[in-house]
């Protein structure tokens, strides 16, 4: 026997305290797909059994990872339970299972009352399931895993050790459902200790859990335990997958079931996806929603179209949560628990875990909805999210910026202008905002307001407005009222070369005789001194505008510019082509 195996047996000896013995053929890899025969038998034995709804509760790891705090979501007193916490606790049905200081223990989820505790040595809990009478827990070590079935008195009713890596188990009607090897779910008869059946899932599976009065398996996709599960190996199981959707941080629905999740939330806990499957046919996502968090942001998406439905901005990082019936529950690092309406994102209720927390798990299985506060319009929600200056948020904000750009609401234009004009905005967001602005066709009044502003050191305007994209948008909108403002920007030395180029180009279409003095001054200043391709292009556009509506004086300026040897060559070549084209279109009578 290898040393590691000896070590595991020694550990198990500590764990074991009576109860059924392990079966040597469990989790055998020479198993052959029986076409659903064994599972059909289990289904028949189980009959119409369905899980009881789980407790509606949020549980946080607090202090110096030396206590659990909980708060019932439907109302009730918050509770605290002092104990060392070494791994992320699990809410299973109506209990909380946690581990620390070598002890595995269970609490009543709504009250925090201790139910039982057992020594488990150095093994770490991966997850648990509970049916109100028995708790099934998987524990992992460097080599192999242990499954325990523990009764309410803390006695081990069944103990299974294996060299396989077991995922998070569930229990229903006396059977333990144990995912392993990322593809199997073994169904153990806890009475006999036999493997009563096995499901071969055509998708990654490392979690079994009960929710919405149904049993599910999965990790990224969800497979439901129902009559169709017998055909899982032929890819016929009732199944639902999260829609493909670009999200910052490429979040996942669940961490691999054999991962050790520490008591302190990491970045991966703050960038998560959440969804709750329904228990009807066809299977769907509750409220037609799936959710994503990104540090301080929570976003809800339409499960059919994947369109952004709403955004919730929090003051501090969101460290955990759960999708509930018609709701989305979130905990933040300060211990605030917020219940949001799935449809609108409006706040239904706010609760407190009593202070800062290290991490959080939540379950909302039967939580009754309450009337939410009306949230602001989506454009305003996104604006609020975009004005958060935390650099950690930039990836999420870029996504939201792309979302907001698809809305034609006029105030969105103002948001984009504000972002692009604010020196505190991350450069990448400024760049994105400028691109989005150029494509806008609404909110012209905000664009004109922005164009009226110039760099002004004395009055702390230290970033010029996004003149170039605004010029492109207003030209496309054929808004001639922009012409004097654009002309003024030709002569603003603080504007970027590209802004000047775009302003001059827009003036070709938008300007009239009123702009001739500014155009003339611009050509004068730069025909011989343009030091970039953009400014040279702007001179050519200004010349084109002078030809178009500058009358004889404009023509004279263009002719003089072309005749002067000091005019830079690029301007001369391109302006000459413009003049020839103009002459061709306007033959002398």
């Amino acid at each position: 026997m290898k040393l590691r195996s000896i070590a595991m047996v020694a550990t198990l000896a500590l764990v074991a305290c009576g109860g059924g013995q392990t079966h040597p053929n469990l989790f055998a890899t020479d198993w052959e797909d029986d076409g659903g025969k064994s599972i059909s038998a289990v289904l028949a034995k189980m009959g119409p059994a369905m899980p009881e709804p789980g407790a509606d509760v949020a549980v946080g790891v607090a202090g110096n990872s030396d206590k659990l705090v909980g708060v019932p979501l439907a109302g009730g007193s918050a509770w605290t339970f002092a104990h060392a916490i070494d791994v992320r606790p699990t809410i299973a049905g109506k209990i909380v299972v946690a581990e620390g200081g070598g002890e595995l223990f269970a609490l009543d989820a709504l009250s925090g009352r201790k139910l039982w505790a057992r020594q488990v040595g150095p093994m770490t809990m991966r997850g648990a399931g509970d049916d109100g009478k028995t708790t099934v827990v998987t524990l992992g070590a460097a080599s192999g895993s242990v499954l325990l079935a523990i009764d309410r008195e803390g006695n081990v009713a069944r103990q299974v050790e294996t060299d396989k890596s077991l995922g998070v188990p569930a229990i229903l009607a006396g059977y333990a459902f144990v995912p392993w090897s990322n593809q199997y779910v073994s169904v153990l008869d806890l009475q006999s200790g036999e493997e009563a059946g096995r499901v071969l899932v055509r998708g990654k599976v490392s979690h079994a859990f009960t929710e919405n009065r149904a049993l599910f398996f999965g990790e990224q996709d969800l497979f439901r335990w129902d009559a169709k599960i017998r055909d899982a190996s032929r890819n016929q199981a009732t199944h639902i997958a999260l829609p493909q959707r670009e999200l910052p941080g490429t979040p996942s629905l669940m961490a691999p079931g054999d991962d050790k999740l520490g008591p302190v939330a990491l970045a991966l806990d703050k960038t998560r996806m959440y969804a709750r499957a329904t228990n009807g046919d066809p299977i769907a996502f509750d409220s037609n929603r799936f959710y994503g968090t990104y540090f301080r942001l929570a976003m809800a998406f339409d499960a059919q179209s994947t369109k952004l439905a709403w955004v919730y901005s929090n003051k501090v990082d969101l460290v955990g949560g759960t999708a509930g019936p018609g709701s989305f529950v979130l905990c933040d690092e300060e211990g605030k628990v917020v219940v949001l309406d799935a449809a609108t994102g409006g706040v239904e209720r706010e609760l407190s875990l009593g202070g800062p927390i290290k991490s959080c798990v939540a379950q909302a299985d039967a939580l009754a909805p309450s009337p939410p506060q009306p949230p602001p319009p989506l454009a305003q929600q996104i604006t609020d999210a975009l004005t958060n200056r935390d650099s950690e948020m930039v990836s999420g904000q870029r996504l939201l910026l792309r979302e907001i750009a698809t809305l034609q609401d006029e105030p969105v234009t103002k948001t984009l202008i504000d972002l692009a004009s604010n020196p505190l905005t991350a450069p990448i967001l400024i760049s994105d905002a400028r691109v989005a602005l150029a494509a806008r066709r609404s909110g012209g009044k905000y664009m004109l307001d922005a164009l009226a502003k110039h760099y002004d050191f004395l009055h702390d305007v230290l970033l010029t407005p996004p003149v170039g994209p605004i010029a492109q948008a207003l030209a496309a909108m054929k808004d001639k009222s922009a012409a004097p403002l654009l002309a003024a920007h030709l002569l603003d030395p603080a504007d970027t070369d590209d802004d000047v180029k775009q302003a001059a180009a827009a003036l070709v279409d938008l300007g009239d005789a009123t702009e001739v003095p500014a155009l003339k001054q611009f050509v004068t200043l730069y025909r011989a001194s343009a030091d970039s391709e953009q400014v040279a292009s702007a001179v050519v556009s200004a010349g084109q505008a002078l030809l178009a509506y500058g009358g004889p004086e404009g023509r004279k300026i263009v002719d003089a510019t072309l005749a002067d040897p000091m005019t830079i060559e690029m301007v001369k070549t391109r302006l000459d082509a413009v003049r020839q084209q103009f002459d061709a279109q306007h033959p002398k009578k």
Binding site: Y455, F457, P493, T524, L525, R527, S529, D531
Partner: protein, 272 residues
């Protein structure tokens, strides 16, 4: 370098730029003859000829150069390279032609910062309402040198209406504004300047207060109040400043102010 030293250095650079240079006009100097081709050269398209003609006009100075202001202005109105623009602006500055101020003002909006600096400096010499307007606008320029020259120039051009802007400039660390405020301030504005003591480096504010102390049009009561504010500081720096002013105080200057200076020097003598 400390912030105070930096401020002083910045002001010194600006003053040096504004001060007459190697080609500076000197109205008392004998007139220099200008070659007969200068006017034609200025109207040519030959950059070398233009450059040479501009140099000649600069050497000729204010009186002899005056006839060439119009062709130089025409040159700028037509548009030239940045190098020629700077030379033309420097020349107009040396000729001190107010008629050129409007055209020069256009060049304070040039994208080339050296051209803007040259234009701003030139306006201080060419003077006039157009120059003042452009200098006020230049206080908000992105370039610190342009802002400093503009702040200094507004004092030199006695632009009293610009004092509120100069206060904003001073509060935005345009240190050159302090001297100009001291040159232009009303009694109330001078006292307003003294409220900047403690907020802005002492050497910057005191340079403005020094200007006000020696102005005949500032009431003695105001000067005594200014001295009182400095006396309240009680620092060695304040004592040194007060001693210097006492040393420079004119014999026929106000006896009341001198007495206040005497007392302030004594009161701050033991300062740290």
């Amino acid at each position: 370098m400390t912030s105070v030293a930096k401020g002083m250095a910045s002001a010194a650079v600006v003053l040096a730029l504004v001060a007459p240079g190697a080609f500076a006009a000197n109205t008392n100097a004998p007139q220099v003859k200008v070659s007969p081709t200068v006017a034609a050269d200025l109207r040519s398209s030959d950059q070398a000829k233009i450059r040479s003609a501009l140099d000649e006009v600069r050497l000729a100075g204010k009186a002899s150069g005056a006839p060439f202001v119009a062709p130089i202005v025409d040159l700028l109105k037509k548009g030239v390279t940045p190098e020629l623009a700077q030379a033309a602006l420097d020349t107009l500055a040396d000729v001190e032609a107010e008629s050129a101020s409007q055209t020069i003002a256009d060049y304070t909006q040039h994208r080339n910062v050296r051209v803007r600096q040259a234009a701003t400096k030139a306006l201080v010499k060419t003077k006039g309402p157009a120059a003042i307007r452009a200098l006020q606008r230049a206080l908000s320029d992105p370039d610190a040198m342009v802002r400093g020259v503009a702040a200094n120039g507004l004092g030199q051009l006695k632009a009293k209406a610009a004092v509120p802007d100069l206060f904003v400039a001073l509060d935005h660390r345009i240190n050159e504004a302090a001297v100009s405020i001291g040159m232009l301030c009303s009694a109330q504005e001078c006292e307003q300047l003294s409220t900047r003591i403690g907020k802005i480096p002492f050497d910057v504010v005191s340079a403005g207060i020094e200007q006000a102390l020696f102005r005949a049009d500032v009431p003695d009561d105001t000067k005594i109040k200014l001295l009182g504010r400095i006396r309240e500081l009680g620092t060695q720096e304040a004592n040194k400043f007060l001693k210097e002013q006492l040393k420079k105080w004119p014999k026929n200057g106000s006896a009341r102010v001198k007495q206040a200076l005497d007392q302030a020097v004594q009161a701050t003598g033991g300062g740290s």
